[in-house]
Amino acid sequence: MDKIYNSIIEALIFASEEPIPASEIIKGIKEIDGEDTKITPNDVEKSVEELNQKFEKEENSFHIIKIANGYLFATKSEYAKYIGYLSTEKTKRRLSQAAVETLAIIAYKQPITKPEIETIRGVNSDYMINTLLEKKLITIKGRADSLGRPLIYGTTDEFLMYFGLNKISDLPKPREIEEIMKDADFLEQKRKIMMNEIEEKLEEDTITVNTSDHDSSIE
């Protein structure tokens, strides 16, 4: 098998979202280079070995591993502590989704108590509220008159600064966004109907509409 396939196999394993079986690799190569391309699962296996030898020699921090359902790239374990730092960062980002939700509810519904927040979110929100308090994005505004006199929360000046707003009433109304969407839907439908009509009309007139540059566009 040609040496060039090492790089192609490397690229396919690198970009594949799932562990990629040798059969898929072969399918991809044959599709492009022709059905008569000579390449077997054994060739793929040999390529992967050669690649791994290269990674070893070149002291790359990654290599290809084989698991039950195919090949995939992995960083070598000696870098695990550095990678650990990365996954911490990733978890933070994922968690921020919950924080945004809590913050959004407080921003739009303020002044609001914790029970009210939890009613909307459906989950205990102690942790999120504490974090947002720590980050000074929200603050305690007092106590509600309702039973148990729960604390009431609202957003801070830091919150406004973070989002580039002058005052809390500058927050876009959910309605504003809905209106843009509604208008847009309406306009788009009108446009679609219009385009259909043009196309029908032109078909009648035996003029073909060539949308070749555009037929893969969405809007």
Partner: protein, 239 residues
């Protein structure tokens, strides 16, 4: 067979630019009468095809006709006494639009180039040593994310859970405050006494959970009570 693209024109400015290009017109000296004629001709064509004409196009037709009329009248002058060309605003708008239209070709080129670039697809076997700590960071959050999150939260608002919470009107946090107040004012208190007067079973459970929470936080301690099946709660200093 003719190949055409009718949705070629993104708007009236786009159509006007087409006429200018087609007829090799000088954009700074647009023959307004001719271009108005062509523009309205196009609208008539759409009308004959039974198509609804967008308001933006009708507005432009009106603007063109207005310019045409103003061209016939004595020229207005600006503060410096220079004649104002009635076409000036239109010319500026056309040039500005043309500029971005041209740039959008560059963008499409970049888009195409980027489509042949692929990123690493699978990260599942990367070993990570440390366990991620649970600290929240708001990263790259915009107001738009805020609205989206709010709409989503309101849409997915759980209905049944709400009922119970509302009926009971008690939360762990409130009961934490309640226990702290009690232990501070009375020093020590028996659990039985603490929940005395609570009629709903759930309220007692919530109070019990609040107590466990406080123990975890190191704010209170428990001691066996001389009374059978009971215990004493006491506040921990500096807790």
């Amino acid at each position: 067979m003719y190949k055409i693209k009718l949705n070629t024109f993104e708007g009236p400015l786009d159509l006007l630019l087409f006429f200018i290009r087609r007829d090799e017109l000088d954009i700074y000296n647009i023959p307004i009468s001719k271009i108005t004629k062509d523009f309205i001709g196009y609208l008539d064509l759409l009308e004959q095809l039974d198509l609804e004409i967008a308001g933006d196009f009708l507005l432009m037709a009106a603007t063109l006709m207005q310019i045409k009329v103003r061209m016939l009248l004595p020229k207005e002058k600006n503060e410096e006494g220079e004649e104002i060309d009635p076409r000036a605003d239109l010319v500026n708008a056309l040039i500005e639009y043309k500029r971005y239209k041209e740039m959008s070709e560059e963008f499409s080129y970049l888009e195409g180039k980027q489509r042949s670039v692929f990123y690493r697809g699978n990260f599942e076997k990367d070993e990570a040593e440390t366990k991620p700590e649970l600290d929240v960071l708001l990263k790259n959050i915009s107001i738009y994310d805020l609205i989206k999150a709010f709409q989503k939260a309101m849409m997915e608002k759980p209905k049944e859970v709400v009922h119970e919470v509302e009926r009971l009107n008690v939360s762990i946090e409130e009961q934490i405050d309640f226990i702290m107040e009690k232990t501070k004012s009375t020093g020590r208190i028996n659990f039985i006494n603490l929940v005395k007067g609570m009629y709903e079973k759930l309220r007692i459970i919530v109070t019990f959970i609040a107590m466990l929470e406080l123990i975890k936080m190191g704010k209170i301690g428990l001691e066996e009570s001389p009374n059978f099946n009971d215990f004493e709660i006491y506040a921990i200093e500096n807790g």
